[in-house]
Symmetry: C2
Subunit: 253 residues, 2 copies
Amino acid sequence: MKIKISICYNGKNFVGWQTQNNGRSVQEEIEKTLSFLFDEKTKIIGSGRTDAGVHALSQVASFEISSNRFLKNFTLDSQLNSDKLINAINANLPSDIKILSAEEVGDNFNARFSAKQKAYLYRLQVGTNPLTDGFVGNVNLMPDIKAMKKASKHLVGEHDFSSFCSSKTETKTFVRKIYKIKIRKVSPIEFNFEITGNGFLYNMVRIIVGTLYEVGIGKKTAKDIKTILNSKDRKKAGKTLPASGLYLKQVLY
Amino acid sequence: MKIKISICYNGKNFVGWQTQNNGRSVQEEIEKTLSFLFDEKTKIIGSGRTDAGVHALSQVASFEISSNRFLKNFTLDSQLNSDKLINAINANLPSDIKILSAEEVGDNFNARFSAKQKAYLYRLQVGTNPLTDGFVGNVNLMPDIKAMKKASKHLVGEHDFSSFCSSKTETKTFVRKIYKIKIRKVSPIEFNFEITGNGFLYNMVRIIVGTLYEVGIGKKTAKDIKTILNSKDRKKAGKTLPASGLYLKQVLY
């Protein structure tokens, strides 16, 4: 039986989604819990990695369980009892990870390769605040939202995003499609960027927001975005903003 | 020279406002920073204590500095340079405390005894969420906001709040005046309670919200509030909700 779960997590105390040998990973914590509950070694496949400090409002993962396994008090028979499964998993997970939903999916479902769209949220904050520390990316100057909105239009559509990708990557193609970039001022000092696309390169959202911020403070112009895209040169784009402001918001299949 | 400061802090990793010998306190961190900056032992007086885990959007404190002291690069002469002072303090404070404002006040100002009004915010959340852990008080059931609003009206005004005060207190009079209780639903799972009064007893806000929640889930009625007040018996009121949902929002002088 294949099960798809959606997961919320606070990335602050994780080395990231993927299991590594230098600290706690989200994947590892969930696999540990599932392996304990089903009493068989269980591996999960996520829709993609998230870096250390990056949060998820709704990451998606899938795993396979032998149909005859027992989950504490109930058998996983043909009819999956989602609520019971969710509660059992959450009761055994640490408080910085929570399963939001669980459903049975077809055998050909793959959380990574079946993903059609992803949406990321970036919370950009001017100045620091003890109560948002670790939950936003901090910058020093107040950006102009109109300038950032204008500039963002040049990024929408299918482009080679080499300039907006960290050099530490193993990707073969740098062409991605951005469907939408929504920028809102949500408080006197906070801006939210929501970016939806068919897929994202390594650090792509953080570099895009970093570049739009530089337009917002007059360091770059909206027109520069076109030049940066065409250059296919990472050095031409803006800085990579901190992981703490980034949230994987939704994965669509 | 007497200086009044307003302070924002994340209470998560503090034993509370007041210096104790079992961990980090907000008072101690600020005193350490001021004593270092002015190179003289500096004591601060807060508007009141906050417990371990309680946050402050704007706590107020005051301290006295010999007028001839040097603050790193500038002398504290007759004209106080607030921005320079704020920046110097913040540069030396840990990231979970931040000074928001600083101004010179008269010699007879006392952050504790001159306070006329205080406003507290309580963030009540139904269920848990990894991204709000430590920033809200969690409950299990969805309360009815109309019932809570109706019940809250009985608390507004001058009353003996003995029933809404933790027994661990050294107060002499239990009479306090509540000016306003505002309850809002801010998300499908979060309710904000804002309570303004001339002063608050130990745990008073957390017990008030805990009691209103019990009205919200039908465990108590609005009328019960009157009976609870009259009983002057802590056991009649609801549970003390967790410190994590409580924020000192404003102190008025």
